[in-house]
């Protein structure tokens, strides 16, 4: 695998990791704009705009866009989060030119009023769909509570009210301000030539307006708290908690990643053995989420309502023990074996490489090969974990509960 990189005159960053022995090529435009970059009046606009991109440009209608992607058999999609908006696809190498042109073209969408009004209905349906998924509802509310007063607390989907009130003109302005070449990274992984990528980028993206989007990345100082959303007819109780963790720019993030595997992986972790394996809960896991400037440990518990407090006490006990005594060598070794296998397997597909390739560049202007990741992983020691825990102990700063319970003691 070989890495290449350049920057167009307008500021568009182009990176590629090429590998002639795979069958496909994956490409993605990583736009550094997400819900954290929105003002309250346009809450949800980044995600709504992501949908509108697929409604086409002056050159391609919405039907054209859907048709051409299917004609080349592309596996494609888009995603919006707090940090960014990603448009990505994997195709057979011979279809890269047409797919590239299409993606590049729709990044300057026409944003037609009638398309906007139709898609607004779809967004409202998407909000309704997530409303029927308790774990999503818990996550959405937790982000808002934990990061209250910080841009990370802004909802990705927006609300029925904010989406209903949003105008096409507001979206056009947001696009004009945020989809600037200097705020976008083009990443390509898989089987193609670097010269071809540069030529396509220049031809289809060279005219994009220059400029960079501003973003405040102060570390959040969460105040914590408890929010209970009572749904009397629910069967299970869903609890999510957050506590501060290293940011995407922190050197401690590798230790945080492996700590979350040791303590809270879906199987073979401390939470698994003490809570899930004996059947005390359906799920109990710990994740690590990195953002620009801030990070969070995320705890998720799903169990019978009456067992909730007891399970939270068990989780608290595990966190206290880890904070005080750190983790054992054998646990660390096992987690390294698990994670390195995941890294290798994911990396066998260009689509699997794309997100880490683009993510490293957007967050840190850094290229990391699979070998770099493996070496870093191998070098983590129990002392690194202790250093991490001294700066960012595990905890239960902010809690959101969704289910039948009307009160909850943490």
């Amino acid at each position: 695998m070989k890495f290449f990189q350049t920057k167009l005159a307008n500021g568009l960053q182009v990176i590629a990791e090429l590998n002639p022995s795979v069958h496909s090529v994956a490409m993605g435009f990583f736009v550094r704009t997400g819900s954290r970059d929105e003002t309250p009046e346009v809450s949800g606009v980044s995600h709504f705009l992501e949908h509108m991109v697929f409604k086409g440009s002056d050159k391609f209608s919405a039907d054209d866009v859907n048709r051409i992607f299917d004609e080349v058999g592309a596996k494609y999609n888009a995603a919006t989060a707090e940090e960014g908006t990603l448009f990505y696809g994997a195709i057979l190498p011979e279809y890269l030119p047409i797919t590239f042109e299409l993606f590049a073209e729709i990044m300057r969408p026409a944003l037609r009023e009638d398309d906007f009004n139709m898609e607004k209905k779809v967004i409202l349906e998407e909000i309704g769909m997530y409303d029927d998924q308790p774990s999503f509802l818990a996550y959405e509310n937790l982000m808002q509570s934990h990061f209250a007063g910080h841009p990370l607390g802004q909802s990705v989907l927006g609300t029925n009210e904010s989406i209903t009130a949003l105008t096409c003109e507001q979206m056009r302005k947001y696009h004009h301000d945020r989809y600037l070449a200097g705020n976008i990274t083009l990443a390509v992984a898989g089987n193609t030539d670097w010269e071809k990528i540069v030529e396509l980028a220049q031809r289809h993206c060279g005219h994009w307006p220059a400029g960079e989007g501003q973003r405040v990345i102060d570390e959040a100082r969460p105040q914590g708290g408890l929010k209970i959303i009572t749904r009397p007819k629910s069967q299970q109780q869903h609890v999510m908690q957050m506590t501060p963790a290293p940011s995407a720019q922190s050197k401690l993030r590798f230790a945080a990643e492996i700590l979350s595997v040791i303590v809270g992986d879906g199987s073979g972790s401390r939470l698994f053995w003490d809570i899930v394996d004996p059947g005390l809960a359906e799920a109990a896991d710990l994740d690590f989420a990195e953002h620009d400037g801030s990070g969070a440990y995320l705890t998720y518990l799903s169990c019978e309502p009456e067992a909730t407090e007891e399970n939270l006490a068990l989780i608290r006990g595990i966190y206290d023990d880890v904070n005080k005594n750190g983790i054992r060598e054998d646990e660390l070794e096992l987690a390294k074996n698990k994670v390195s296998s995941r890294v290798v397997l994911r990396s066998e597909r260009p689509m699997g490489r794309l997100s880490s390739l683009g993510g490293n560049w957007v967050s840190r202007q850094e290229y990391r090969s699979v070998d770099d990741d493996m070496q870093t992983l191998r070098s983590i020691t129990t002392k690194d974990i202790r250093d991490l825990l001294a700066a960012y102990p595990l905890g239960m700063t902010t809690t959101v509960a969704v289910g039948p319970l009307e009160s909850l003691k943490i």
């Binding site: 992607f69 596996k75 349906e125 029927d132 394996d277 096992l334 597909r349």
Partner: protein, 411 residues
């Protein structure tokens, strides 16, 4: 496409091993299909196979539950266990060099599990809670309940079981299920990736050659549920499930059926997405898929939409299913073919998709199709042949189940 060589080998006890060595990958995956899925759950004990799928990994051979899990993790085995209708399936992926050692551990799990009394409660409680969690998620529940209404039992029963039957399941009844059903005859092991053929066949023969055959057990059949139904739920959206006649995987017209569903729901330019979501904005999720089993098949559709627009969504969706019989444009079929071709080629980048494909093929067809075979079959499809299939198997006599605040009219 590069040449693909697939080796099939059968042990004397009937275990079929299908191996596809792959170049340019470091990983290898395997997929075990072991007879004893939910179709063989005893009557009023739906969920037995599901509990066994969990319980069986809680200690085997010389290792207790935790040591076994640690040993697999230390080999970097990414694993999953699932309960199917016919089989229990055990999938694993890792670096190719770790696969022989992993196969030896699965030999213990499948032939010498401890099924320890003190671990039963954990498996049972896990099953019960995940069934409860599903009650809170109508989007998942609607398809499970739809299957109950469009297939006779045991084919339509939920593979994960149901809450009212769990109380009837005991450690002894699950052990009996294990003794009666899990066997090498009818079992299939698909292996794909960076492996040495002779080495893995040697390991498999040694580890599984002594597994004794068992007679094929019977299962009880019972009629399916009501064709039209509604389950009241205080949800934001109404979740709509629709089913109609499809065909089995081994049917000579399988790819025609696949293409017909592809025109309806194969990509974002397909009819359901275009008519229901893009033109009318009625929902975020709408899809149809071909659910082909060994003896029969159905087309299963889902749409989720806020209550006040649910009737229109149902009407438009049913209308599109019926309208397929009026004609198919050649470019619609061409797009299905292009999507299939790209999927087939990309499968070669994933050892786990190849391992599960070759095992599944053997189960349904008693042979394995190469990617070239499939591409040839797809190239042969014409608008006329797909349309003729649609006319022979028209979308009608719909099974419709809705979950949400209000009942809908099915016209």
């Amino acid at each position: 496409m590069p040449e693909q060589v697939i080796h099939t080998h059968q042990l004397a006890n009937g275990l079929t091993v299908v191996v596809e060595p792959m170049r340019d990958v470091q990983s290898a995956s395997f997929s075990f299909l072991i007879p004893g899925g939910s179709a063989f759950d005893p009557v009023k004990q739906n969920g037995t196979a599901g509990i066994l799928t969990d319980w069986i990994t809680r200690g085997a051979g010389e290792l207790d539950s935790r040591d076994l899990s640690n040993a697999l993790d230390n080999l970097g085995i990414q694993r999953s266990e699932n309960t199917g209708i016919n089989h229990l399936s055990f999938s694993a992926a890792s670096l190719g060099s770790n696969v022989p050692a992993a196969l030896l551990m699965y030999a213990d799990i499948l032939q010498r599990p401890h099924l320890p009394e003190d671990e039963f409660e954990g498996a049972m409680s896990g099953a019960e809670q995940s069934l409860r969690a599903m009650e809170d998620e109508p989007q998942r529940k609607v398809i499970i309940e739809l299957r109950r209404r469009c297939y006779d039992a045991p084919w339509g029963l939920p593979t994960e079981g149901c809450l009212e039957d769990l109380v009837n399941i005991t450690p002894d009844s699950v052990r009996a299920h294990f003794q009666r059903n899990l066997r090498p005859n009818g079992a299939i092991l698909g292996i794909a990736g960076c492996v040495d053929l002779d080495e893995v066949l040697g390991v498999v023969t040694e580890a599984f050659g002594g597994w004794a055959t068992k007679p094929e057990p019977e299962f009880a059949t019972a009629p399916r549920g009501e064709r039209l139904g509604h389950i009241h739920h205080e949800s934001t959206q109404t979740h709509i499930g629709i089913a109609y006649e499809g065909i089995e995987y081994s049917h000579p017209d399988y790819y025609k059926a696949w293409a017909a569903v592809g025109v309806l729901s194969g990509g974002m330019s397909s009819r359901l997405f275009t008519e229901v979501r893009e033109k009318r904005g009625l929902c975020y999720s709408v899809n149809a898929s071909l659910n082909s089993m060994k003896q029969e098949g159905r087309v299963l559709c889902y749409a989720g939409t806020t209550a006040e627009r649910a009737q229109e969504t149902l009407d438009v969706t049913l209308g599109e299913l019926v309208r397929l019989g009026d004609g198919i444009e050649s470019h619609e079929l061409e797009r299905c073919k292009a999507r299939a071709k790209s999927s087939l080629i990309m499968q070669q980048e994933s050892t786990s998709s190849r391992a599960s494909s070759i095992a599944r093929d053997w189960h349904f067809l008693k042979r394995v199709q190469t990617l070239d075979d499939i591409r040839r079959d797809i190239d042969l499809l014409t608008v006329e042949s797909v349309l003729a299939y649609v006319h022979q198997h028209p979308a009608r006599d719909f099974t419709v189940l809705t979950i949400g605040p209000n009942q809908l009219n099915v016209t």
